[in-house]
Symmetry: C3
Subunit: 204 residues, 3 copies
């Protein structure tokens, strides 16, 4: 069940990677590579920090979601695009799943709660950041027209709190992941923003 959630997160991020590849007119192989980097990159960073073999390499089943995402975009691109802003939606779903499952994996491997929450956020934003850096565009993570990292921080914090209190379960993880997804989508819809980096920015 935990594996299913993790693979689902990989699939959503991989879809966002393949959709960006399609928008950038990449070829099929570029689509597969960007899907893999986006879907698996956050988890690889998490596992390297945890000092374990990255699960994307130890379990070949993790290669299935990027392959599937590449094929979905190849055959069904027009239909997927008709869903409206699909890159943002799938990215939000991946964010919700990864910031929660990332924190739980860190806690299970003995990380202290603060570091586990930070690593959950890192896992959540890592894949998308790599996608945007490699595709040479401004990272979504730093877009100031909506909230991206705050839902991830809240989600990683909540599952860590539940773990410390002994309430951790797959259902709690799933519920928090959906909350993160909803907050991210609502922030896009209603243009919720965070304060500017400077209290009183001067006109420049």
């Amino acid at each position: 069940m935990a594996l299913a959630l993790d693979l689902l997160g990989v699939f959503f991020f991989a879809l966002s990677g393949s959709l960006l590849a399609a928008r950038r007119q990449f070829d099929l192989v570029g689509s597969l590579l960007l899907a893999s980097l986006t879907g698996l990159g956050g988890g690889v960073i998490r596992d390297l920090v945890l000092g374990v073999t990255p699960i994307a390499f130890s379990s070949p089943v993790y290669l299935a979601p990027p392959l599937l995402a590449t094929l979905v975009v190849f055959f069904l691109h027009a239909r997927v695009e008709r869903l409206g802003k699909p890159l943002l939606v799938f990215d939000a779903a991946g964010l919700g799943l990864f910031c929660t499952t990332g924190a739980i994996k860190a806690l299970d491997l003995g990380m202290n709660p603060v570091a586990a929450a930070v690593l959950g956020v890192t896992t959540g934003v890592g894949g998308g950041l790599l996608r945007d850096v490699v595709a040479n565009r401004d990272p979504q993570l730093f877009d100031t027209r909506d909230l991206y990292a705050i839902p991830a921080m809240l989600g990683a914090g909540l599952v860590t709190l539940a773990w410390v209190l002994g309430w951790s379960s797959v259902w709690v993880t799933l519920a928090v992941a959906m909350l993160v997804f909803l907050l991210r989508i609502l922030s896009l819809r209603f243009r919720w923003v965070a304060p500017h980096a400077v209290l009183r920015p001067r006109a420049e």
Copy 2:
């Protein structure tokens, strides 16, 4: 002999880094840094995934090829450029050597064959990807006017297959590396391309 192949791969990638530095009007130190990142980056990623100390750090001899490449470009830039598209040629040679030696090292350290082939591709494309990301340009890896990842996938797959069948040797590795190099060069010459990321792209 395996060490010699690996150092040769570092040298070729390092040359591509120094040539890009020269084209970008970097200074001599920037040339050395970009040569090192390009030549050693793929192997560092490979070794971190494998959980061993990156060989670029444990064996100081690995610093020699980037130094040599920087000096070659410094003193002989005009002659090297006269070879015609040298950045692409040296990059192709590095790709051939790294996708094969990377897979073999992963297999020798006990990785499963699928992961070893994926890690071979990662080693092959990693250094060049870092080079292009750091130099703030669109990665060659995603260029749709020729084949880049497909030769690497084929090469990593072939040496992995040979290893599984018990046919692995330095000569097999070298032959497959040359095949990858040839495919890459031929794809540049004859403009072989992969299918687009979307089956029926709409005009946008």
Copy 3:
């Protein structure tokens, strides 16, 4: 005391990250993320290469400097900017501290001297490189109008030499860090430059 120096280095680099975030009109969360990546990124790379849990994750106190830097820029941006070129100055201070403490940590963990010096340089330039890559701008590291890597190489080399000779101490580290800082600042002030990557560049 060694911890204090390291936290100070994190703080200086984090300030440079938050200042870049402010210049780029990022929001407060983006400022915190860029401060964290810049301040902690070099050390995370160093610790992954050394095969230990990145200290930014094992010791939560490392999260304090990026938080503090974000608040300083939020409340006191105008005053900090009045110092003149603060991004360059804080970046130089971080460079001095990290290239020296990075090399010392590598030596303490048993790395050979050559690799330790290289890892010191990597630690010093890593955080700023990540900052510039993620903010999608040309890395300061490759700016040819002043010296960046040379002071770092000299600093990492000097503390390594002192360690080999048995003269290593926190005061030596601090003195060398200040020397690196001074060289970097003087190279900015007096426009010291390194030779071009090519001996006789052709007009292109």
